[in-house]
Symmetry: C2
Subunit: 411 residues, 2 copies
């Protein structure tokens, strides 16, 4: 019933290759219950029955295929919680996450998710910069949590930024995700309170005939250049090494750093551009995601190619050119965003965009250099606005007898 990271994509890819068009309905690996004897039907599980293990070397929700529904929330410790209260909270949270991700109910279950399976639920916990001073653990604060530099395109709302603790919830069912959010909020009562909370979504499992990189609300295929687990340097780009690495404390072994940005898309402005203008802003075709220099979605950009006018086919300020790892000293981050849409304002302008979440072993070699370059000359900048920001240290996964952050809080 468990699936290995990113296996949905792989499994669906396999099914697609076998020509079973229209057969797979978006479920990930694993059989629901036992296979029926003498039945040759391929073992498909429902969307609901897919389980992502909570325990493991890394926390779930990082390399897990993006779910269709997501909640991000930051919590602040209450003044008298301290290190002991925080440890008890992380212990409760881990136990709740373990139960819910396995499709079991918590003690004071409200039945919202009663009939649904785990629906690929993942719960991921992180610590913000302020957590360490609140708990007297400054000496264990990773240098990587030093505040992000300011960027010229920032319009950050401090009330929706940062926070002592961070929780990322993802599931392929909205009620399962909400149930987890409420259960974790209840666990926090008396110890921490919600600082901010945001809702996001991605394509539903099975909405496309073949597995695809998801699209964002600008209509752009988004995430093509993500590092892939099969690449040799994937682990070292995304995760802190075992033992803690040169700059990281030991408790961050197998952990990762999450940068969270609420990126508002100025969709009315964006949609005034023609399809061709939009494609020059990005440097890729909208329909296939292929570079304007040709090929398919995964073909590398040809940075040198010029058009009949002698100018680069992929403009010098195109988003895809500026954000590509090759132009950023090899920087790489694993993007795993959700889209958001929180209605319209009184003028009918959508409050919508991207809950950008990216993962890296070191923000100073991941998000920061990429964003710095984008900040200087990205053609996409006029159409987006960073409205909130967070940076969180996400420790490695825990074992059944432990809890997330134990090495920090009891070490």
């Amino acid at each position: 019933m468990t699936t290995s990271p990113l296996s949905r994509r792989r499994l669906l890819g396999t099914a697609g290759a076998a020509g079973a068009a229209g057969l797979v309905a978006g479920a990930a690996g694993g059989v629901a219950g036992t296979a029926l004897a003498g039945d040759d039907t391929p073992p498909l599980s429902t969307v609901g029955s897919t389980t992502v293990m909570f325990h493991g070397k890394h926390q779930a929700g990082i390399t897990t295929a993006p779910q269709s529904r997501g909640h991000l929330a930051a919590f602040d410790l209450l003044p008298d919680a301290g290190r002991k209260g925080a440890a008890a909270l992380l212990r409760r949270w881990s136990r709740t996450a373990e139960r819910l991700t396995a499709g079991r109910a918590v003690a004071d279950d409200t039945a919202i998710a009663l009939d649904a399976g785990p629906s690929s639920l993942t719960v991921t916990f992180g610590f913000g910069h302020s957590f360490f001073s609140r708990t007297g653990l400054e000496d264990r604060r990773p240098a990587a949590l030093d505040p992000l530099p300011a960027f010229s395109s920032d319009a950050l709302d401090p009330r929706r930024s940062n926070g002592d603790l961070w929780v990322q919830i993802g599931a392929d069912d909205a009620l399962v995700a909400f149930n987890a959010l409420r259960a974790l909020q209840k666990d926090a009562a008396g110890t921490a309170r919600v600082r901010w909370q945001m809702n996001g979504f991605n394509r539903s499992a099975g909405a496309t005939a073949r597995p695809m990189t998801t699209r964002n609300l600008m209509g752009q295929i988004d995430g093509t250049r993500n590092p892939r687990p099969e690449e040799a340097d994937f682990e070292q780009r995304v995760f802190v090494p075992g033992g803690g690495g040169a700059k990281d404390p030991e408790w961050m072994a197998h952990g990762s750093y999450a940068v969270v940005r609420r990126i508002r898309m100025l969709l009315d402005d964006w949609e005034e551009l023609s399809r061709e203008e939009q494609e020059r802003v990005i440097g890729r075709r909208k329909d296939t995601g292929a570079p304007l220099t040709g090929g398919t979605e995964t073909t590398p950009l040809d940075l040198e190619k010029t058009g009949p006018d002698g100018r680069p086919v992929v403009p010098a300020n195109a988003h895809a050119r500026i954000s590509m790892p090759e132009t950023n000293g090899g920087a790489a981050l694993l993007r795993r965003p959700f889209s958001f849409h929180d209605g319209f304002d009184e003028k009918g302008v959508p409050d919508a965009g991207l809950l950008f979440v990216c993962w890296q072993a070191d923000p100073l070699r991941g998000f920061v250099p990429v964003q710095r370059k984008l900040d200087r000359g990205d053609a996409l900048s006029p159409f987006i606005r960073h409205e909130a920001s967070g940076l969180f240290a996400v420790p490695g996964g825990c074992q059944p007898d432990g809890y997330v952050g134990r090495e920090l809080l009891e070490g």
Copy 2:
């Protein structure tokens, strides 16, 4: 590729009865593309490929199985739009809805939904009370649109209530739904502007092993007593008869009236009750939805049965007792709600509940008597708050050469 109303539930029910546990992943009827020759695999479509016809006797989105994502929006006509502008808008909207529900792109497509199938998209249009004075059509306004009575539990926000025009969008993919919302908003430019807009959700297709009545955010199975299409009086309870009926104008033939209420759930208060207390408030078990007097979800309440203390097992003020058709002079309405969750307030209280949408041939024999009874003595009242309200006349469906509302606007 098309499905008849409510067929997902029926189809899933059939598959479940055949014992194919875990096989069906929530897709509705119809084969994606053509069946593979010589392939005995049951014809399953993906979530994305399911199409709900826009054209028909009734508008889609009324008896259609509830989708996992929904948008409700009201639009107000601009001052100089008039009847002619409104007619042109409804013509554009109908054409856009026809294209998008068939999985085709609109002219100025932004590609958000490019790869996804129609994902059971439905778009439903209605007219509010104020529409008729804005367009000089007062003489065609149905009496059924007379304002709803005030209820003691109302705390209505006028800015999020009513409106000249109403649009209900549902889809099993969030990007498909958002794409439709934006396309309709663009169609309205120069003629109408968004008055209010709300986002909702339901269980994902395939999240439960068997098809089920959905749960709401109180954890309650919600919709058990809905009238069913196979019942003899279903049509007459939900739809205005052909020709228009005794009280209805002819242009409302085969139409229905939608009552829309944003019902905030006071979840923190609700969750302070024990499971047993919650069940006495409702009169049904939380796990199965069965009456407290025994049986299964579909067993009728035994109103007379008393417990060892001599008091009714289903309390006199239980929600299920008060809202049941048998205690409301046969009133019946088709509930088709979405849940909503718009984050937390600064105290951590969830802004969550039910986007209640109900359908009936006559609000004075549907919503109004039921809500009046609930208003007087429903044990659930302390835990909910009606925050917005709308009442809309939803005409019958149109044919390919027509548009929704043509009989009103050109008649």
